[in-house]
């Protein structure tokens, strides 16, 4: 095959081979240079002597074009994108707009918003429930229901003295009849005649937190010793609070699972449609030797960015809701009483550090979900097609 070029071999060499140093400037139309690539690098080098005997025809850029090309592309037609100052060298292979549209972003934002609201609400409820339980756990109430004719006051004092002698009890407070009545006021309204009602007298006991007081033994002792005395360590109440918080948590988990499922489903279908609309790109990528992993990465990049961006916006919106909740309640007509009730239910109504971390985790999970779902979606589509 050698020597079959289109030029006579006796033409002089185009340049003094080896004599003059190459000009550093690269001549685009210099036929004496050949493009070689060694180890992935392309370099231009002089031909070896056997091939160095060509006279390049002077090619001007214009002569490279056919007459048709010269005529068909008038110089006035300069596309605006070509005039961009920054030359694009690594534009995304899959255009972002073809993957993550505005409505998709909106939906993922809403999903993250809901997830954050759920997580935040459950977290607050658990926090305040725990605080309650902690308070209640160290408090025991003793009810003294005096039988007709017995002196309630005297009996109460006797019980209090007895309790004070038991181990593990740090403080005994006897509540007066008026104090007991005050506790009932929110339910019964002002009570004029305290003696008209057979109100039990109350003794509040604070347990010593350091030791492990045997409440059951105390209960047995006090109930044997005195008649009409019951000891309530709020266990039923505790159980109820625990049950309620557990159900809230479970409900929250269910919502989170639904949100995750919906997000996955949306991303799967978005992956499908973006693969379909970028079919040509996928094809060309396959032609130039791209692996499925590479193609998947090109798609999942966009989904990751979508997840992070939508996730952050959703989380910030959720935080805004938590912050503005008191204001919203007030606007809806709730007074300070409603607010304090609300606070009792969901704690202080604001998130602490751990709460923020939880929201951050929600964002990370949503973003990861978007990315991984799209990755596996791409793999599945690529492998099902062939």
């Amino acid at each position: 095959m050698s020597g079959s070029y289109d030029r006579p071999p006796d033409r002089p060499g185009m340049r003094g081979l080896g004599s003059s140093p190459r000009t550093p400037e690269y001549d685009a139309y210099d036929d004496g240079a050949v493009v070689t690539q060694q180890g992935g690098r392309t370099s231009t080098q002089s031909r070896d002597p056997a091939y160095g005997t060509y006279e390049p025809e002077p090619i001007s850029p214009d002569s490279l074009r056919t007459d048709y090309e010269r005529v068909s592309r008038p110089d006035i037609y300069v596309p605006t994108r070509e005039a961009r100052k920054v030359q694009s060298l690594t534009a995304p292979i899959v255009p972002a707009g073809s993957v993550t549209g505005r409505s998709l972003t909106l939906v993922i934002t809403i999903m993250c918003f809901l997830a954050c609201l759920t997580v935040g609400a459950v977290y607050m409820i658990r926090q305040s429930a725990n605080a309650w339980l902690r308070d209640i756990a160290s408090e025991v109430t003793v009810q003294v229901q005096a039988k007709d004719g017995t002196d309630a006051e005297k009996l109460t004092q006797q019980v209090a003295t007895y309790l004070g002698q038991q181990a593990g009890i740090s403080k005994v407070t006897v509540m007066s009849a008026a104090e007991s009545a005050a506790l009932l006021e929110p339910w019964l309204g002002p009570i004029d005649d305290l003696n008209a009602l057979p109100l039990p007298r109350l003794i509040a006991i604070e347990l010593d937190r350091a030791g492990t007081p045997n409440v059951d033994a105390v209960r047995e002792g006090v109930e044997k010793q005195f008649q009409g005395v019951t000891l309530d360590d709020h266990r039923r109440w505790q159980r109820q609070i625990t049950t309620i918080t557990h159900s809230f948590s479970l409900g929250g988990l269910a919502i989170l699972a639904l949100v995750a499922m919906a997000t996955t489903a949306i991303i799967v279908s978005a992956t499908k449609s973006s693969m379909a609309s970028n079919r040509e790109i996928v094809e060309v990528l396959h032609f130039v030797g791209a692996t499925d992993r590479f193609i998947a990465r090109e798609f999942e990049k966009h989904f990751l960015r979508l997840g992070v961006r939508a996730g952050l916006v959703g989380a910030i919106l959720a935080l805004a809701v938590f912050t503005l909740m008191p204001t919203i309640v007030q606007i809806l007509g709730g007074g300070s009483l409603t607010l304090s009730e609300l606070h009792r239910l969901v704690g202080s109504g604001s998130l602490d550090m751990a709460g923020y971390v939880l929201m951050g985790i929600v964002v990370v999970v949503i973003a990861a979900l978007c990315m991984l779902t799209s990755r596996f979606g791409v793999f599945r589509i690529l492998n099902s097609k062939h």
Binding site: S43, I93, V288
Partner: protein, 218 residues
């Protein structure tokens, strides 16, 4: 390098395009592939590029049987092949420069490592002043040159070109032919499908002639 044994090809319900095709191309060889329009040149190249499976027979590429190759195993082999399509297949949303750099990007090379190579090659094929424009504004011949640049940028072991000079003037055709010859001299096996007799006269290389589904080497 390439060995076809009793290869037959038929599209779904159509007639047999290729039947009992046997040939062997050695590493470092240079061949033209000719035949009338519709003879099946493009189809044969697609077989060699593994975007078609033969209806029967066996195709060996780089010593591997690729007749029934799966998608996942295709990628590493395709990285060793450069292909120029009759219809170019450039991506419209990437600049010409980015299109040419695509094979290098796909194998995970770093921009700094291939930046100059791509620019050099584009200038060499006469697209120096158009490389940061988009393919949609290129002429047919310019697109063709971009497609060729993309095919050769990775210095493939095998170059398949489908009518690579179909849209350029004789002068440019000669220049492109020289590019292929240079590549061949550096060790790339080249197979060029062409109708261009003028081109084939310029370089003496064996021809695979496709006729009635059979291949004859002259």
């Amino acid at each position: 390098m390439i060995r076809l044994t009793n290869v037959g090809l038929k599209y779904d319900r159509g007639p047999e395009i290729l039947s009992e095709v046997n040939f062997h191309l050695r590493p470092g060889s240079f061949h033209f592939l000719t035949g009338p329009s519709g003879a099946g040149k493009t189809s044969l190249l697609r077989l060699l590029f593994m975007s078609l499976h033969p209806t029967h027979g066996q195709i060996q590429l780089f010593g591997q049987d690729v007749s029934r190759i799966t998608t996942s195993k295709r990628a590493p082999l395709r990285r060793r092949i450069g292909i120029v399509f009759q219809d170019f297949r450039l991506l419209e949303h990437l600049t010409t420069w980015e299109n040419v750099a695509l094979p290098l990007r796909v194998v995970g090379k770093r921009l700094d490592d291939y930046k100059e190579d791509v620019t050099d090659l584009l200038q060499w094929v006469g697209l120096g002043d158009r490389m940061h424009g988009y393919p949609s504004v290129l002429s047919g011949g310019e697109k063709q040159r971009a497609a060729i640049a993309r095919a050769v940028i990775g210095k493939p072991e095998l170059l398949l070109a489908d009518e690579p000079t179909g849209n350029v003037d004789p002068q440019m055709a000669r220049r492109l032919l020289r590019l292929f010859i240079e590549l061949n001299r550096l060790g790339t096996s080249v197979l060029i499908a062409t109708h261009d007799h003028q081109l084939m006269r310029q370089f003496k290389a064996p021809r695979l002639e496709l006729h009635d589904g059979h291949v004859r080497i002259v």
